[in-house]
């Protein structure tokens, strides 16, 4: 990425190291002044002492790191140490609600504070001064960009973890009644989730001997061809087990999408509301819910009639 591939070019002049080591305290002081007085210092988020402690260890590690290794490559034991330190600092800063760019800017600001000390050292040799500054600046740039890399990596880890958690959380199978179970689906469906959902549902059907499984898609925002395919597959698999699947929560928008996409859901029992689905499930399992006084009034006379009806509509669904 740079023109000078000569390793000697990329090694910091021992004079510089010596100067920086000797005046470490003064540099820290200057850096702290720079930070505290700068407009983006937020003392509500971090105390001066904490900042100073962090900066001191960072500065020390930085000098150690550049003392013996190639700044171009940023490898070796010394750089591992400073990377670890930087990782700790950036994680702590992230926890204190600093943005990654603020943390990176904090590292970059060391450049400004180093400048006067280097100028003192190389007063008579502007050529070397420029070279040294360039190298130090490169090293700090790399460290700064390292902050972004680690921040993104951390975020990705969190996202993966959350996806896993969501997958676990998002497929509860609820027993509604004897031999009636319900799987409320919430959120977008993808192939992994649907696979897991199908397996869970089928296992529960076998375990609970559920005659009817209600798949409630009230919480599913959109249905595309793929999702519809998953649903059809699930319904078919449930039928193979010997139980019946009802899809509920099919609102106007989903109904429109399904028809527009030309998806054939005939042969699948769909209902608007979950309650309609439950009613249908009761009917299919030859049960019914009656108001208490009605049950008191004429318990058995009407029962046979409804049972008959329930049974015939049940066998019709074959």
């Amino acid at each position: 990425m740079t023109s000078d591939n000569n390793p000697s070019q990329a090694v910091i002049n021992p004079l510089t190291i010596k100067a920086l080591t000797e005046r470490e305290d003064a540099i820290l002081e200057a850096w702290m002044n720079n930070r505290v007085n700068s407009s983006d210092f937020r003392e509500t988020l971090i105390s001066g002492e904490e900042l100073r402690a962090d900066s001191q260890s960072f500065l020390r590690a930085f000098i150690m790191a550049i003392a013996n290794s190639n700044v171009e490559e940023m490898r070796g034991k010394e750089f591992n140490a400073i990377r670890r330190l930087l990782l700790e600092i950036s994680e702590a800063r992230a926890a204190q609600a600093f943005s990654p760019s603020e943390t990176a800017f904090y590292v970059f600001s060391l450049k400004e504070s180093l400048l006067p000390f280097l100028r003192d050292e190389y007063r008579d040799d502007p050529e070397t001064l420029l070279e040294e500054l360039n190298k130090l600046s490169k090293a700090l740039d790399k460290l700064g960009s390292f902050i972004f890399v680690t921040t993104i990596k951390n975020r990705e880890r969190v996202i993966r973890q959350q996806q896993q958690d969501m997958l676990e959380l998002s497929t509860p199978v609820v027993q509604i009644w004897d031999r009636i179970i319900c799987l409320p689906l919430i959120g977008a469906l993808d192939s992994r989730r649907t696979q897991l959902m199908m397996e869970r549902l089928l296992e529960r059907i076998v375990k609970t001997r559920a005659e009817v499984a209600i798949l409630d898609i009230t919480g599913v925002p959109t249905v595309d061809t793929q999702v519809a395919n998953y649903l059809i597959k699930t319904v078919t698999a449930v039928r193979l087990l010997g139980s019946t699947c009802i899809i509920t929560g099919v609102g106007p928008s989903i109904a429109q999408t399904i028809v527009h996409l030309g998806i054939d859901l005939s042969g699948i029992i769909t209902r608007n509301q979950l309650s309609d689905g439950i009613r249908q499930a009761f009917e299919m399992t030859r049960q019914r819910v009656v108001p208490i006084n009605a049950a008191d009034g004429e318990p058995s006379a009407e029962k046979g009639d409804t049972d008959e009806r329930a049974q015939s509509s049940y066998s019709e669904s074959w």
Binding site: M198, E199, L202, E203, I205, V206, R209, A210, E211, K233, T236, A237, V238, R239, L240, L241, G242, S243, Q311, S312, Y314, S315, W318
Partner: protein
């Protein structure tokens, strides 16, 4: 070589076929033949095939199950397949074998109930049909 023959038991009006182990293509064909013979000989009205012990059903076996059901139906016997395991169901669906026209049930108990209901239904319909023809 299929050392084990699949037993076909007659219980009341039902032929109870319980497939105990993974079977090969020839055994399936042989089973089909025997089931149909049994229907003819025993006058059974329904066939119940229990495959709850099968952990794998390939496309051939899947198609044969469909075929047995269709053939039995022509011979006026209803068929129900019971005990399909979740993994088997997923495989069948992925293979595109939906066993259309085959009734299914969770277990033998449910299967028997369904067969009973269907038999009752059929008889009632026939009785109604006979009434319609009676006055002539």
């Amino acid at each position: 070589m299929s050392a084990l023959k699949v037993p076909i038991l007659k219980v009341g009006e039902v032929l109870l076929v319980s497939i105990q182990a993974d079977i090969d293509d020839r055994a399936v064909l042989e089973l089909q033949q025997r089931v149909l013979e049994q229907i003819e000989q025993t006058n059974a009205r329904s066939v119940l095939i229990d495959i709850s012990l099968l952990e794998m059903v390939d496309s051939f076996t899947g198609r044969m199950l469909s075929d047995i059901a269709s053939m039995a139906s022509i011979m006026d016997a209803a068929t129900v397949v019971v005990g399909i395991q979740p993994a088997v169901a997923i495989t069948l669906v992925e293979l595109g074998l939906e066993l259309k026209g085959v009734s299914t049930a969770l277990d033998v108990d449910d299967g028997l109930r369904i067969l009973r209901e269907r038999l009752k239904d059929k008889r009632r319909k026939r009785a109604v049909g006979a009434d319609e023809h009676a006055p002539a």
